[in-house]
Amino acid sequence: MVPASYYLILSVVLFVLGALGVLLRRNALVVFMSLEMMFNASNLAFITFARMYNALSAQVVVFFVMTVAAAEVAIGLALMVEIFRSKRSVDIDQMNTLKG
């Protein structure tokens, strides 16, 4: 049996990688994928704790997160397509009109 802390460390590593991806990558699709990785890192943590404490509710939360993530991806990709149509690019550094 692999100790729970391994899972948690993996979860943290995945989360940090995801966050770094969001912060550093310029391709919007990659940012999206990094975002999904953060979701799944947190899901992993949830599952781990669910096993640790035998708490069923944490598993429910995981399903919930997955559902929301699916919906979010649908909207996000739709936005992405629209942005690509107008800007001919998915470089997020060019999406900089929202400024004071």
């Binding site: 966050a19 969001v22 912060l23 550093l24 310029r26 997020i92 550094d93 999406m95 900089n96 009109t97 929202l98 400024k99 004071g100």
Partner: protein, 665 residues
């Protein structure tokens, strides 16, 4: 003075609110329909409203014959804060009804006169549309004056007090765009209002003191508790009465606040007659007489009141001698006569004060209205005389300057005769009304206050002198301008009220005729502890001789020794030198006030406006604006639109919050 409760008030007394309502109805009718139905309607409505008010006052008069103790007629609950209650209640007693009769009676005659006078005046000044406005203001004034005199408590009196002040302001500035430089009338109105405000401040302080120490503002309650306060802390009562006196000096034009009244002559002549001679300016005298129970407890205050009155009487009379404006002479004369009344009220001779107030209302209203008739005659004569010739020097002709008159006796005979009656009554020639009332004041002074007596006697001499001078300059001598030569008598609507007032001026002495003492027996139901009057033949003889001396001296100087033949000729009294210049320049009081009050005040205002307001206050608000602009500009840099920097901030924020939660808690 026991207050009657609601269920024992006579039905006749219940009518008292209508003395206020009738003029109010009149002014509302004029406001709504006056424009549609024209001048005749406006004048008739206003006069009828005043007549109705007079009728109510008369009915109260007859009701009081049977029940002279009077009543307090509650009308509305007004203010109730804890224990402090002020009701809208009317006081019906001999004193208030006397004032009501004077106000509405003299007011009625002046209303009738004004229907004719304003017809000419609005055309002369080129705005006939203001005819209606005049009568709206006039009725408003009657209503406010009625509130003042019929009040049962000091606060309601104060409402009327302010209301008549407002009407005075509106009517002085009736031709607000006229006058010297197109602003003099407006400035006169403003001056009257502001000077009165100083006085009103005093009255307000007196009211506050009453509230603080008595917890009530009703006459009965205040007078009931006053002796207790006088015994405990007489200083408070002294302050109360002296602050009240400040209000009186403002409204009744006494030293030091009399300066507004001469300028108030900028209003149309009926206004001068009604407001600035007969009624409003006597409100102060009424207040002192009404508050006799307070004043009689503090002899020091009485002394001050007396001296203020006497000095004002003398001071104003000296100025009146050297004026050339026919209305200004009468204005200073009014101040002087008000001084007589205030002095009498200060001596505790309330009856004499009210008597002189009443007769003065008759003859001074008469004099003003007759002066208005003269002015109309001169204006019309001027228009006639210059109709066919070149109009050079047309604009600087002053129809109120007595030097431009002369010889009007033959051209305006009726006006002359009524003016003569008024002038003789004012001078105190027996048996006209002024003789009796002035004599009573002199007699009251003679008993205890010899210095006051002499001042008032000299003033009586000066009064006769300046009235004699005016009579000779206006009606006697030679015709000095073509305008005066072409003057004609006015129509009946103007002269009839003059005749009515002349009869009142002549017979007014019967009100308190020695022996019957009608007014005194009438007023003693309200004024407690008045001393019975008596007729002093010697005093009467002296005062008549003094008056005749004054008139004779004026006649000698202005008609015999050096008759005026040309309007450019200087006044014979110019030989008095410094004395003349002082009198002619009104002793420079206006200039003095300007130097010691207006100028420093303006300097303070400028200081507050330019360094303080524009410097400090604007700097604070401007600085705050600058600060937020700068802060915004600084924060703009953060909003750079780069998504990843926002995300970084979010991550850092989450990290910060988490580390706080983990390590700090």
């Amino acid at each position: 003075m026991p207050l009657s409760t609601a269920n024992e008030i006579l039905p006749a007394f219940q009518a008292v609110p209508w003395v206020v309502f009738f003029p109010l109805i009149g002014l509302i009718l004029n406001l709504l329909f006056g424009k549609r139905f024209g001048e005749k309607f406006s004048g008739a409505v206003a006069s009828l409203a005043t007549l109705a008010s007079f009728g109510v006052a008369l009915s109260l008069f007859f009701a009081l014959q049977a029940h002279p103790e009077g009543a307090s007629v509650p009308f509305l609950q007004w203010i109730q804060v804890g224990d402090f209650v002020v009701n809208w209640a009317f006081r019906v007693d001999t004193l208030s009804v006397t004032m009501m009769l004077v106000v509405s009676g003299v007011g009625l005659l002046i209303h009738i006169y004004a229907t004719g006078y304003m017809h000419e005046d609005v055309r002369h000044n080129g705005d006939p549309g203001r005819y209606r406005r005049f009568f709206v203001y006039f009725n408003l004034f009657i209503a406010m004056m009625m509130i003042l005199v019929s009040a049962d408590n000091y606060l309601m009196l104060f409402v009327g007090w302010e209301g008549v002040g407002l009407c005075s302001y509106l009517l002085i500035g009736f031709w607000f765009e006229k006058g010297k430089d197109g602003i003099a009338n407006a400035q006169a109105a403003k001056k009257a209002f502001i000077v009165n405000r100083v006085g009103d401040f005093g009255l307000l302080i007196a009211l506050f003191l009453m509230f603080q120490h008595f917890g009530t503002l009703e006459f009965a309650g205040v007078f009931e508790q006053a002796p207790v306060l006088a015994a405990a802390t007489p200083g408070v009562l002294l302050a109360m009465t002296l602050f009240m006196l400040l209000g009186v000096t403002g409204k009744s034009a006494q030293i030091p606040l009399y300066v507004w009244l001469p300028d108030a002559m900028a209003g149309p002549t009926p206004v001068s007659a009604l407001i600035h001679a007969a009624t409003m300016v006597t409100a102060g005298v009424y207040l002192v007489v009404r508050s006799t129970p307070l004043y009689s407890l503090v002899p020091e205050a009485q002394t001050v009141v007396m001296w203020v009155g006497a000095l004002t009487a003398f001071f104003a009379a000296t100025i009146a001698i050297a004026q050339f404006d026919i209305k200004r002479v009468l204005a200073y004369s009014t101040i002087s006569q008000l001084g007589f009344m205030v002095a009498a009220a200060g001596m505790g001779a309330g009856v004499a004060a009210m008597f002189h107030l009443t007769t003065h209302a008759f003859f001074k209203a008469l004099l003003f209205l007759a002066a208005g008739s003269v002015i109309l005659g001169i204006e019309a004569g001027h228009a006639r005389a210059h109709a066919h010739t070149d109009e050079h020097g047309h604009d600087d002709f002053d129809p109120q300057d007595m030097r431009n008159m002369g010889g009007l006796k033959d051209r305006m005979p009726l006006t002359f005769w009524v003016y003569l009656i008024g002038a003789l009554a004012l001078s105190g020639i027996a048996p006209l009304s002024g003789f009796f009332s002035k004599d009573e004041i002199l007699h009251a002074a003679e008993k205890d206050h010899l210095a006051i007596f002499w001042i008032l006697l000299i003033t009586a001499f000066l009064t006769a002198f300046y009235m004699g001078r005016q009579l000779v300059m206006v009606f006697g001598g030679t015709v000095r301008t073509r305008a005066a030569g072409a003057a004609r008598e006015n129509s009946a609507i103007i002269t009839l009220p003059l005749v009515g007032l002349a009869i009142l001026s002549a017979l007014g002495g019967l009100l308190n005729f020695p022996g019957s003492w009608g007014l005194e027996h009438w007023l003693e139901h309200t004024l407690e502890g008045i001393q019975p009057s008596e007729f002093a033949p010697l005093t009467a003889l002296i005062s008549v001789l003094v008056a005749l001396g004054g008139l004779g001296l004026a006649y000698a100087i202005y008609a015999v020794i050096q008759p005026l033949t040309d309007y450019r000729q200087p006044d014979p009294l110019t030989r008095l030198g410094v004395l003349w210049r002082g009198m002619a320049n009104k002793w420079k009081v206006d200039e003095l006030y300007h130097a010691i009050i207006v100028r420093p005040y303006e300097a303070l205002a400028h200081f507050l406006a330019s360094p303080v307001d524009q410097g400090v206050i604007d700097a604070v608000s401007g600085g705050l604006a600058w600060l937020s602009v700068r802060a915004g500009e600084g924060l703009r840099v953060v909003q750079n639109g780069i998504l990843r920097s926002y995300a970084l901030l979010i991550v850092l924020g989450v990290a910060a919050i988490l580390s706080y939660l983990i390590w700090m808690r």
